[in-house]
Amino acid sequence: MNNRLKELRLARQWSQGQLAETLSVSRQTVNAIENGRYDPSLPLAFAIAAAFALKIEDIFQP
């Protein structure tokens, strides 16, 4: 699944560690999602969308 996580994170000048702390996950998890190696669960995708104040479909595309 494609996503705009890295682009959105960089636009807000957040580090992977900062985003990971916000989401209560490890930095490796944020990195794996950004690199497309791991697709998050629906609850985590909702948490990511909430952190960026966007809709899920604005971040993740099939």
Binding site: S24, V25, S26, Q28, T29, N31, A32, R37, Y38, P40, S41, L44
Partner: protein, 126 residues
């Protein structure tokens, strides 16, 4: 949230307890030379340390985020299936003259495969 440093300290402490209980059980057995139930109890004393270690691992798994759990699931699956294949193959090979595989050998096999599986799974999601 899962903190690896804290986990290694807790697991290290549990394993240290296991080693202390192992030596203590040996010393007590030599000193007291117990029989029957007390002898079994003394031989099982180190298992208390192993139970604490198992509890530490379970707590760590519950604290992990979903990707870390996925990594552990992949690693434990590899360990479970790999140990099954090795012990079944060994069991058949015993019929051809291989020495009997002791129960104590199973855990080191599982642990080694779990470690290899963790490394492989982490590489997959890096």
């Amino acid at each position: 949230m899962f903190k690896p440093k804290r986990y290694y300290i807790e697991l290290g402490s549990a394993l240290a307890l296991y080693v202390v209980l192992l030596f203590a059980a040996n010393l007590l057995e030599r000193a007291l030379q117990p029989t029957a139930t007390l002898l079994i109890a003394m031989n099982l004393l180190p298992v208390l340390g192993a139970i604490v270690a198992a509890w530490t691992i379970m707590r760590a798994l519950r604290r992990m985020d979903e990707l870390q759990r996925r990594v552990q699931f992949d690693a434990i699956a590899l360990s479970f299936l790999g140990t099954a294949l090795i012990t079944i193959a060994w069991g058949f090979a015993e019929g051809a003259g291989l020495p009997h595989l002791r129960a104590f050998a199973i855990w080191p096999i599982m642990a080694a495969l779990w470690g290899i599986g963790t490394i492989l799974a982490q590489l997959r999601y890096r």
